[in-house]
Protein backbone atom coordinates (compact mmCIF):
# COMPACT_ATOMS: atom_id res chain seq x y z
CA UNK A 1 0.00 0.00 0.00
CA UNK A 2 1.41 3.39 -0.91
CA UNK A 3 2.20 6.05 1.63
CA UNK A 4 -0.66 8.29 0.57
CA UNK A 5 -3.33 5.61 0.53
CA UNK A 6 -2.67 4.15 3.94
CA UNK A 7 -5.83 4.35 6.01
CA UNK A 8 -4.06 5.95 8.92
CA UNK A 9 -0.67 6.76 10.25
CA UNK A 10 0.48 6.24 13.74
CA UNK A 11 2.21 8.96 15.47
CA UNK A 12 3.77 9.22 18.88
CA UNK A 13 3.29 12.76 19.98
CA UNK A 14 2.09 13.19 23.52
CA UNK A 15 3.76 12.11 26.76
CA UNK A 16 0.77 9.89 27.42
CA UNK A 17 1.22 8.06 24.15
CA UNK A 18 4.92 7.68 24.80
CA UNK A 19 4.04 6.21 28.19
CA UNK A 20 1.57 3.85 26.56
CA UNK A 21 4.20 2.68 24.10
CA UNK A 22 6.72 2.20 26.87
CA UNK A 23 4.24 0.05 28.82
CA UNK A 24 3.31 -1.93 25.74
CA UNK A 25 6.95 -2.56 24.94
CA UNK A 26 7.82 -3.45 28.50
CA UNK A 27 4.96 -5.92 28.83
CA UNK A 28 5.74 -7.68 25.60
CA UNK A 29 9.49 -7.62 25.53
CA UNK A 30 10.68 -7.54 29.13
CA UNK A 31 7.96 -9.65 30.64
CA UNK A 32 6.17 -11.99 28.23
CA UNK A 33 9.05 -12.53 25.86
CA UNK A 34 12.02 -12.67 28.17
CA UNK A 35 10.47 -14.10 31.30
CA UNK A 36 8.06 -16.61 29.85
CA UNK A 37 8.12 -17.25 26.11
CA UNK A 38 11.90 -17.46 25.82
CA UNK A 39 12.32 -19.74 28.81
CA UNK A 40 13.11 -23.37 28.26
CA UNK A 41 10.49 -25.53 30.05
CA UNK A 42 13.27 -27.97 30.99
CA UNK A 43 15.00 -25.18 32.90
CA UNK A 44 11.77 -24.46 34.75
CA UNK A 45 11.43 -28.14 35.64
CA UNK A 46 15.03 -28.21 36.85
CA UNK A 47 14.40 -25.13 38.93
CA UNK A 48 11.44 -26.84 40.53
CA UNK A 49 13.61 -29.78 41.51
CA UNK A 50 16.31 -27.65 43.12
CA UNK A 51 16.13 -26.07 46.50
CA UNK A 52 18.03 -22.99 45.43
CA UNK A 53 17.83 -19.20 45.68
CA UNK A 54 16.83 -19.18 42.01
CA UNK A 55 13.83 -21.32 42.84
CA UNK A 56 12.78 -18.87 45.55
CA UNK A 57 13.14 -15.94 43.16
CA UNK A 58 11.00 -17.67 40.57
CA UNK A 59 8.39 -18.64 43.15
CA UNK A 60 8.19 -15.03 44.27
CA UNK A 61 7.38 -14.09 40.70
CA UNK A 62 4.53 -16.53 40.19
CA UNK A 63 2.88 -16.26 43.58
CA UNK A 64 -0.53 -14.51 43.77
CA UNK A 65 0.91 -11.10 44.61
CA UNK A 66 4.15 -11.64 42.73
CA UNK A 67 5.73 -9.88 39.80
CA UNK A 68 3.69 -11.73 37.19
CA UNK A 69 0.44 -10.76 38.91
CA UNK A 70 1.61 -7.15 38.95
CA UNK A 71 2.33 -7.35 35.24
CA UNK A 72 -1.16 -8.74 34.66
CA UNK A 73 -2.52 -5.69 36.45
CA UNK A 74 -0.39 -3.40 34.27
CA UNK A 75 -1.73 -5.13 31.19
CA UNK A 76 -5.30 -4.62 32.42
CA UNK A 77 -4.62 -0.93 33.05
CA UNK A 78 -3.09 -0.54 29.62
CA UNK A 79 -6.06 -2.25 28.04
CA UNK A 80 -8.64 -0.21 29.90
CA UNK A 81 -7.32 3.08 28.51
CA UNK A 82 -6.36 2.28 24.94
CA UNK A 83 -9.56 3.32 23.20
CA UNK A 84 -9.16 6.89 24.33
CA UNK A 85 -5.39 7.15 24.54
CA UNK A 86 -4.74 6.64 20.84
CA UNK A 87 -7.85 8.53 19.79
CA UNK A 88 -6.95 11.44 17.51
CA UNK A 89 -9.45 13.65 19.27
CA UNK A 90 -6.96 13.89 22.13
CA UNK A 91 -4.89 16.01 19.74
CA UNK A 92 -7.46 18.77 20.02
CA UNK A 93 -5.87 19.65 23.33
CA UNK A 94 -2.63 20.59 21.58
CA UNK A 95 -1.35 24.10 22.03
CA UNK A 96 -1.96 25.19 18.43
CA UNK A 97 -5.68 24.63 18.99
CA UNK A 98 -5.75 26.75 22.13
CA UNK A 99 -7.46 29.68 20.45
CA UNK A 100 -9.93 27.63 18.46
CA UNK A 101 -13.45 28.35 19.73
CA UNK A 102 -14.81 25.51 21.82
CA UNK A 103 -17.74 24.91 19.50
CA UNK A 104 -15.44 24.46 16.50
CA UNK A 105 -13.11 22.34 18.56
CA UNK A 106 -16.04 20.16 19.59
CA UNK A 107 -17.19 19.69 15.99
CA UNK A 108 -13.74 18.65 14.82
CA UNK A 109 -13.30 16.45 17.86
CA UNK A 110 -16.53 14.52 17.22
CA UNK A 111 -15.66 14.13 13.57
CA UNK A 112 -12.17 12.82 14.40
CA UNK A 113 -13.63 10.36 16.87
CA UNK A 114 -16.02 9.03 14.23
CA UNK A 115 -13.23 8.59 11.69
CA UNK A 116 -11.07 6.86 14.26
CA UNK A 117 -13.72 4.34 15.24
CA UNK A 118 -14.33 3.57 11.57
CA UNK A 119 -10.67 3.25 10.68
CA UNK A 120 -9.48 0.84 13.32
CA UNK A 121 -11.26 -1.93 15.25
CA UNK A 122 -10.07 -0.56 18.54
CA UNK A 123 -12.94 -1.98 20.60
CA UNK A 124 -12.24 -5.41 19.15
CA UNK A 125 -8.53 -5.02 19.91
CA UNK A 126 -9.41 -4.12 23.47
CA UNK A 127 -11.78 -7.08 23.81
CA UNK A 128 -9.16 -9.48 22.45
CA UNK A 129 -6.61 -8.22 24.94
CA UNK A 130 -9.08 -8.68 27.78
CA UNK A 131 -9.74 -12.27 26.68
CA UNK A 132 -6.01 -12.94 26.43
CA UNK A 133 -5.35 -11.44 29.86
CA UNK A 134 -8.07 -13.56 31.44
CA UNK A 135 -6.75 -16.71 29.78
CA UNK A 136 -3.23 -15.90 30.88
CA UNK A 137 -4.35 -15.14 34.39
CA UNK A 138 -6.14 -18.48 34.67
CA UNK A 139 -3.14 -20.40 33.35
CA UNK A 140 -0.80 -18.51 35.64
CA UNK A 141 -2.90 -19.52 38.60
CA UNK A 142 -2.96 -23.12 37.41
CA UNK A 143 0.78 -23.11 36.89
CA UNK A 144 1.43 -21.63 40.34
CA UNK A 145 -0.77 -24.29 41.93
CA UNK A 146 0.97 -27.07 40.03
CA UNK A 147 4.32 -25.68 41.07
CA UNK A 148 3.19 -25.54 44.68
CA UNK A 149 1.63 -28.97 44.91
CA UNK A 150 3.86 -31.12 42.76
CA UNK A 151 6.61 -32.85 44.62
CA UNK A 152 9.94 -33.43 42.95
CA UNK A 153 11.07 -35.52 41.21
CA UNK A 154 7.63 -35.80 39.56
CA UNK A 155 8.04 -32.34 38.10
CA UNK A 156 7.03 -33.13 34.56
CA UNK A 157 3.56 -31.72 35.14
CA UNK A 158 5.25 -28.46 36.08
CA UNK A 159 6.90 -28.48 32.67
CA UNK A 160 3.60 -29.16 30.98
CA UNK A 161 1.86 -26.41 32.93
CA UNK A 162 4.62 -24.01 31.94
CA UNK A 163 4.25 -24.92 28.28
CA UNK A 164 0.56 -24.11 28.58
CA UNK A 165 1.44 -20.81 30.23
CA UNK A 166 3.79 -20.04 27.35
CA UNK A 167 0.99 -20.65 24.86
CA UNK A 168 -1.33 -18.12 26.48
CA UNK A 169 1.62 -15.72 26.90
CA UNK A 170 2.09 -15.84 23.14
CA UNK A 171 -1.59 -15.01 22.63
CA UNK A 172 -1.32 -12.10 25.03
CA UNK A 173 1.88 -10.93 23.34
CA UNK A 174 0.12 -10.90 19.99
CA UNK A 175 -3.00 -9.21 21.35
CA UNK A 176 -1.04 -6.39 23.00
CA UNK A 177 0.95 -6.05 19.80
CA UNK A 178 -2.19 -4.93 18.00
CA UNK A 179 -2.32 -1.73 20.04
CA UNK A 180 -1.49 1.11 17.65
CA UNK A 181 1.98 2.56 18.05
CA UNK A 182 0.73 6.03 18.65
CA UNK A 183 -2.16 8.33 18.05
CA UNK A 184 -4.25 7.14 15.13
CA UNK A 185 -4.43 9.92 12.60
CA UNK A 186 -6.96 9.86 9.78
Amino acid sequence: MSESSRPQIFFAISPDVRQLLATKSSLRHSWLDHQIMDRDPETIVRRHRENSPERQIFEAKICPAGEFAVEVLRARELCSGIVERVNPRTLMSLGPFDKLPSETKGQISRWLNGLYLESIPIESIKADIEVAINAFSAKLQAFAETWQHQTPPTSQSVGQAFIELQAVARDLYAAIGRIPDGTVLP
Partner: protein, 228 residues
Protein backbone atom coordinates in the same frame (compact mmCIF):
# COMPACT_ATOMS: atom_id res chain seq x y z
CA UNK B 1 27.99 31.27 23.99
CA UNK B 2 29.77 28.08 24.72
CA UNK B 3 27.01 25.91 23.48
CA UNK B 4 27.46 22.21 23.75
CA UNK B 5 28.65 22.02 27.30
CA UNK B 6 27.02 19.25 29.27
CA UNK B 7 27.44 21.12 32.52
CA UNK B 8 24.56 23.49 32.87
CA UNK B 9 25.42 24.82 36.26
CA UNK B 10 26.65 28.16 35.00
CA UNK B 11 23.81 28.84 32.70
CA UNK B 12 20.89 31.14 32.90
CA UNK B 13 17.70 29.68 31.64
CA UNK B 14 14.56 31.71 31.34
CA UNK B 15 11.15 30.18 31.10
CA UNK B 16 8.45 32.35 29.72
CA UNK B 17 5.39 30.59 30.76
CA UNK B 18 2.20 32.40 31.27
CA UNK B 19 -0.82 30.18 31.00
CA UNK B 20 -2.49 27.77 33.29
CA UNK B 21 -1.51 24.14 33.35
CA UNK B 22 1.52 24.57 31.16
CA UNK B 23 4.37 23.98 33.49
CA UNK B 24 5.08 26.81 35.85
CA UNK B 25 5.01 24.40 38.72
CA UNK B 26 7.38 22.16 36.86
CA UNK B 27 9.63 25.13 36.40
CA UNK B 28 9.76 25.42 40.15
CA UNK B 29 11.03 21.88 40.16
CA UNK B 30 13.81 22.96 37.88
CA UNK B 31 14.85 25.37 40.55
CA UNK B 32 14.96 22.49 43.00
CA UNK B 33 16.76 20.39 40.46
CA UNK B 34 19.54 22.88 40.03
CA UNK B 35 19.91 23.33 43.75
CA UNK B 36 19.93 19.70 44.68
CA UNK B 37 21.45 17.91 41.73
CA UNK B 38 23.98 20.41 40.62
CA UNK B 39 24.75 21.88 43.98
CA UNK B 40 24.10 25.28 42.58
CA UNK B 41 22.51 28.22 44.27
CA UNK B 42 19.61 29.23 42.14
CA UNK B 43 16.53 31.18 42.84
CA UNK B 44 13.23 31.96 41.35
CA UNK B 45 13.26 35.68 40.88
CA UNK B 46 10.30 37.93 40.40
CA UNK B 47 10.08 40.42 37.67
CA UNK B 48 11.74 43.70 38.60
CA UNK B 49 14.01 42.01 41.07
CA UNK B 50 17.23 44.02 40.83
CA UNK B 51 19.31 40.86 40.95
CA UNK B 52 18.05 40.00 37.55
CA UNK B 53 20.50 42.44 36.05
CA UNK B 54 23.57 41.02 37.65
CA UNK B 55 23.11 37.42 38.56
CA UNK B 56 24.27 35.39 35.63
CA UNK B 57 23.39 32.04 37.08
CA UNK B 58 19.78 32.32 37.98
CA UNK B 59 16.71 30.68 36.64
CA UNK B 60 14.00 33.14 35.82
CA UNK B 61 10.40 32.21 35.79
CA UNK B 62 8.12 34.66 34.16
CA UNK B 63 4.38 34.62 34.03
CA UNK B 64 3.09 37.68 32.30
CA UNK B 65 3.01 38.23 28.55
CA UNK B 66 2.85 42.01 28.61
CA UNK B 67 5.78 42.27 30.93
CA UNK B 68 7.59 39.77 28.77
CA UNK B 69 7.37 42.07 25.82
CA UNK B 70 8.33 45.19 27.69
CA UNK B 71 10.88 43.79 30.05
CA UNK B 72 12.19 40.37 29.27
CA UNK B 73 12.84 40.66 25.59
CA UNK B 74 15.02 43.74 25.99
CA UNK B 75 16.81 41.75 28.63
CA UNK B 76 17.79 39.11 26.11
CA UNK B 77 19.71 41.78 24.25
CA UNK B 78 21.58 42.74 27.35
CA UNK B 79 22.62 39.16 28.05
CA UNK B 80 23.77 37.68 24.76
CA UNK B 81 25.67 34.93 26.53
CA UNK B 82 22.61 33.71 28.35
CA UNK B 83 20.63 30.73 27.26
CA UNK B 84 17.02 31.66 27.01
CA UNK B 85 14.61 28.85 26.39
CA UNK B 86 11.21 30.23 25.64
CA UNK B 87 8.17 28.26 26.53
CA UNK B 88 4.76 29.59 25.80
CA UNK B 89 1.37 28.39 24.75
CA UNK B 90 0.85 31.49 22.69
CA UNK B 91 3.74 31.61 20.26
CA UNK B 92 2.16 33.58 17.42
CA UNK B 93 1.32 36.56 19.57
CA UNK B 94 4.84 36.69 20.92
CA UNK B 95 6.74 35.76 17.81
CA UNK B 96 6.85 39.24 16.27
CA UNK B 97 8.49 40.62 19.36
CA UNK B 98 11.01 37.84 19.54
CA UNK B 99 11.79 38.41 15.90
CA UNK B 100 12.55 42.07 16.55
CA UNK B 101 14.97 41.31 19.28
CA UNK B 102 16.92 38.84 17.15
CA UNK B 103 17.31 36.82 20.25
CA UNK B 104 20.29 34.55 19.94
CA UNK B 105 18.90 31.72 21.92
CA UNK B 106 15.58 30.89 20.45
CA UNK B 107 14.74 27.38 19.45
CA UNK B 108 15.17 28.15 15.79
CA UNK B 109 15.62 31.14 13.58
CA UNK B 110 12.18 31.46 12.18
CA UNK B 111 9.98 33.95 13.99
CA UNK B 112 7.05 31.64 13.97
CA UNK B 113 9.00 28.80 15.46
CA UNK B 114 10.87 30.81 17.95
CA UNK B 115 8.97 29.73 20.94
CA UNK B 116 9.00 26.13 21.89
CA UNK B 117 5.54 25.29 22.94
CA UNK B 118 4.27 24.02 26.24
CA UNK B 119 5.34 23.55 29.68
CA UNK B 120 6.62 20.11 29.29
CA UNK B 121 9.39 20.90 31.56
CA UNK B 122 9.62 17.31 32.66
CA UNK B 123 11.10 16.51 29.27
CA UNK B 124 13.61 19.26 29.75
CA UNK B 125 14.39 18.00 33.22
CA UNK B 126 15.00 14.50 32.00
CA UNK B 127 17.27 15.80 29.29
CA UNK B 128 19.15 18.02 31.69
CA UNK B 129 19.50 15.21 34.20
CA UNK B 130 21.01 12.99 31.56
CA UNK B 131 23.60 15.64 30.82
CA UNK B 132 22.36 16.45 27.37
CA UNK B 133 23.64 19.53 25.72
CA UNK B 134 21.68 22.71 25.59
CA UNK B 135 21.58 22.47 21.82
CA UNK B 136 20.10 18.98 22.01
CA UNK B 137 17.49 20.13 24.47
CA UNK B 138 16.53 22.90 22.10
CA UNK B 139 16.24 20.37 19.35
CA UNK B 140 13.93 18.29 21.49
CA UNK B 141 11.71 21.24 22.21
CA UNK B 142 11.79 22.41 18.64
CA UNK B 143 10.89 19.04 17.23
CA UNK B 144 8.00 18.69 19.60
CA UNK B 145 6.71 22.16 18.84
CA UNK B 146 7.03 21.84 15.08
CA UNK B 147 5.40 18.42 15.10
CA UNK B 148 2.36 19.75 16.86
CA UNK B 149 1.99 22.64 14.44
CA UNK B 150 2.10 20.20 11.57
CA UNK B 151 -0.42 17.87 13.17
CA UNK B 152 -2.73 20.81 13.86
CA UNK B 153 -2.47 21.98 10.25
CA UNK B 154 -3.11 18.44 9.04
CA UNK B 155 -6.27 18.07 11.09
CA UNK B 156 -7.57 21.45 9.94
CA UNK B 157 -6.97 20.57 6.30
CA UNK B 158 -8.72 17.23 6.68
CA UNK B 159 -11.62 18.89 8.46
CA UNK B 160 -11.89 21.47 5.70
CA UNK B 161 -11.79 18.73 3.07
CA UNK B 162 -14.55 16.86 4.90
CA UNK B 163 -16.48 20.14 5.17
CA UNK B 164 -16.45 19.98 8.95
CA UNK B 165 -14.86 23.41 8.63
CA UNK B 166 -16.93 25.57 6.35
CA UNK B 167 -16.62 29.15 5.19
CA UNK B 168 -18.57 30.36 8.17
CA UNK B 169 -16.84 28.31 10.82
CA UNK B 170 -15.40 30.38 13.65
CA UNK B 171 -11.68 29.68 13.76
CA UNK B 172 -10.83 32.16 16.49
CA UNK B 173 -8.36 35.02 16.30
CA UNK B 174 -7.19 35.45 12.73
CA UNK B 175 -3.67 36.42 13.73
CA UNK B 176 -3.26 33.18 15.59
CA UNK B 177 -4.52 31.03 12.75
CA UNK B 178 -2.40 32.94 10.25
CA UNK B 179 0.67 32.22 12.32
CA UNK B 180 -0.26 28.55 12.42
CA UNK B 181 -0.23 28.32 8.63
CA UNK B 182 2.91 30.36 8.45
CA UNK B 183 4.63 28.02 10.88
CA UNK B 184 3.32 24.80 9.35
CA UNK B 185 4.22 25.89 5.82
CA UNK B 186 7.81 26.42 6.74
CA UNK B 187 8.06 23.06 8.47
CA UNK B 188 7.03 20.69 5.72
CA UNK B 189 9.94 18.69 4.50
CA UNK B 190 9.49 18.92 0.75
CA UNK B 191 9.75 22.41 -0.69
CA UNK B 192 8.14 24.51 -1.94
CA UNK B 193 5.25 24.28 0.44
CA UNK B 194 1.80 23.78 -0.98
CA UNK B 195 0.21 24.65 2.33
CA UNK B 196 -1.92 27.76 2.59
CA UNK B 197 -0.01 30.87 3.59
CA UNK B 198 -2.72 32.21 5.87
CA UNK B 199 -6.27 31.58 7.04
CA UNK B 200 -7.83 33.33 4.04
CA UNK B 201 -5.87 31.12 1.68
CA UNK B 202 -6.87 28.09 3.75
CA UNK B 203 -10.55 28.91 3.37
CA UNK B 204 -10.15 29.46 -0.36
CA UNK B 205 -8.52 26.11 -1.11
CA UNK B 206 -10.23 23.84 -3.58
CA UNK B 207 -10.39 20.07 -3.27
CA UNK B 208 -7.28 19.46 -5.33
CA UNK B 209 -5.23 21.95 -3.35
CA UNK B 210 -6.43 20.42 -0.13
CA UNK B 211 -5.36 16.98 -1.33
CA UNK B 212 -1.89 18.26 -2.22
CA UNK B 213 -1.44 19.99 1.11
CA UNK B 214 -2.68 16.94 3.02
CA UNK B 215 -0.28 14.70 1.11
CA UNK B 216 2.61 17.05 1.81
CA UNK B 217 2.00 17.06 5.54
CA UNK B 218 1.54 13.28 5.59
CA UNK B 219 4.94 12.97 4.03
CA UNK B 220 6.48 15.23 6.65
CA UNK B 221 4.75 13.40 9.48
CA UNK B 222 5.91 10.07 8.13
CA UNK B 223 9.45 11.39 8.15
CA UNK B 224 9.09 12.51 11.75
CA UNK B 225 7.54 9.16 12.64
CA UNK B 226 10.57 7.36 11.30
CA UNK B 227 12.90 9.57 13.26
CA UNK B 228 11.13 9.16 16.59
Amino acid sequence: MDEGQGDMSNRTIAFFNHRSGKGKSDAQKIDEFFNTKLGKESQILRLNDPRIQTDGSTIFVHTDTEALISFWLPLTKKHPATDFIFMSTDPPSLAPYISETQCNACCCEHPAHVLAEYGEVSEFLAAAASGRRISEIRQLLKRKASTEWLVAAYILLLARKAKVIGNETDLGPRQYMDALWHAAGSMVCDKPSVLPTDTEAFLQMDSEELDSAIAQIRLSLSGINRSV
